[in-house]
Amino acid sequence: MSAVAARIRPDQNPQAVTDHPAQATITMSAVNKWYGKMHVLRDIDLRVNKGEHLVLCGPSGSGKSTLIRCINALEEIQSGTIEVNGNVLGRKGAKVDHIRRDVGMVFQQFNLFPHLTVLQNCMLAPRRIHRATEAEARDKAMHFLEQVHIAEHGHKYPAQLSGGQQQRVAIARALCMGPQVMLFDEPTSALDPEMVKEVLDTMIGLADQGITMICVTHEMGFARAVAHRVIFMDRGEIIESAPPSEFFGAPKHERTRAFLGQILNH
């Protein structure tokens, strides 16, 4: 990803963002999750500040997807607490749907609704949840479709688009709900190589607007360019968490080094 890697952000100063504990958007404390007997998240402690961009990496099966899916309650946790924008998840009566409205998610497989056009995909949630009028929802959808440079395909069905285009629609669809946090679960892993850049560029544009982002990805160029912190997970644990320069330049843990060795010299 030369275009991404070449991007330089002189103003980037991770400390400036992470030093304000009052601004925490997401707080996970001692979170544990099991699938049957399998312990997939082990005592996860994680704070994500407002406007922070986090990249999450680690071997396949290490629990990255599970971790971010817990944040919008797609998965239940067995112990610990997760707080999102002041709402505590997992308690009885937690307003799960409210939390989900603040948190947008983009999936590896896009998951666009195949029976709806691009525009309808983007309008559905605002129409149903914000009770937006047809015109309001359409304006908003067009706004975000323009932002991801796909407005001219608004009338098409997802199957008529390329993977990269579908993923950009998925990003626009999530943005239409006005989320404060965006979660990305390997958004470029299912794409043909020539489409990876258009999606990463869209995500970089989003990062520049200051939205809080947690992104599971192995695109290390992207991590260097936009992440304030890179987190390495292995076997359900957070092993290392550091700003990209430190993470890539001087990883502390043997497992991190082994992992970076694998993905950087494949």
């Binding site: 919008n72 949630a125 997802p158 709900m177």
Partner: protein, 216 residues
């Protein structure tokens, strides 16, 4: 006196056809509505609902339609509900249809990829919106061939109402055959009428399927 198989006899059979069509329609509408609830219960996150729906489906799939109709016809009066024959038959057919459609639609709902509901949940859509706007439209498309197949069977299945004494199309044909001694002509006509009743179903579904497939 032996009558020939002429216009009045055909009219008599068409009178019976009216019953066949009305019973089929009513059974499909009420059975469909109930079947949707059964399918939703069967795929619900609430275990007792799932179990109850599974038993319900099992009962209606595991017993013959005729037995179900008799059970309703003779069972309702035992419960203190006296109904006319046609109402008992329609109730029986609707219950029967709800069990089968419930099972067909359960399968289609489960065939909608998991990622679809997940994406809908991630957007904050509640259960009702997820079902109505995301799951059911896709399940409908998947279920279309099986649903139409069942509807065609339901139309033909209304013939068992003759055994309870309701003069629908097959029973009318029997009567006409008895007085004309021309069973071949009579039953050939009736076969044609059933075919004509079922034809629009098949044609409509083919068109609908084509339209849905245009979405890619």
């Amino acid at each position: 006196m032996i009558r020939t198989f002429g216009l009045p006899e055909i009219q008599f059979i068409l009178e019976g056809a009216k019953w066949t069509i009305l019973m089929s329609l009513a059974a499909f509408i009420f059975g469909g509505a109930l079947g949707l609830l059964v399918a939703l219960a069967r795929t619900s996150a609430i275990r007792p609902l799932r179990v109850a729906a599974a038993c319900y489906i099992q009962i209606f799939q595991g017993t013959p339609l005729l037995v179900q109709l008799f059970a309703v016809y003779f069972g309702l009066p035992l419960l203190g509900v006296n109904v006319e024959l046609w109402l008992a038959v329609v109730t029986g057919l609707a219950l029967h249809a709800s069990g089968f459609l419930g099972e067909i639609w359960r399968g289609s709902i489960e065939a909608v990829p998991r990622g679809q509901t997940e994406a809908a949940r991630a957007l904050g859509l509640g259960y009702f919106a997820r079902i109505r706007d995301v799951v059911l439209p896709q399940a409908l498309r998947i279920s279309l061939p099986a649903t139409v197949g069942f509807m065609v069977n339901l139309v033909k299945g209304t013939a068992v109402a003759a055994l309870l004494g309701l003069t629908e199309m097959t029973r009318s044909a029997q009567l006409m055959s008895n007085i004309t001694f021309e069973p071949l002509k009579v039953y050939a006509s009736v076969g044609l009428f059933y075919f004509i009743i079922c034809l629009p179903l098949t044609l409509c579904s083919a068109r609908l399927e084509k339209r849905l497939n245009a979405q890619g």
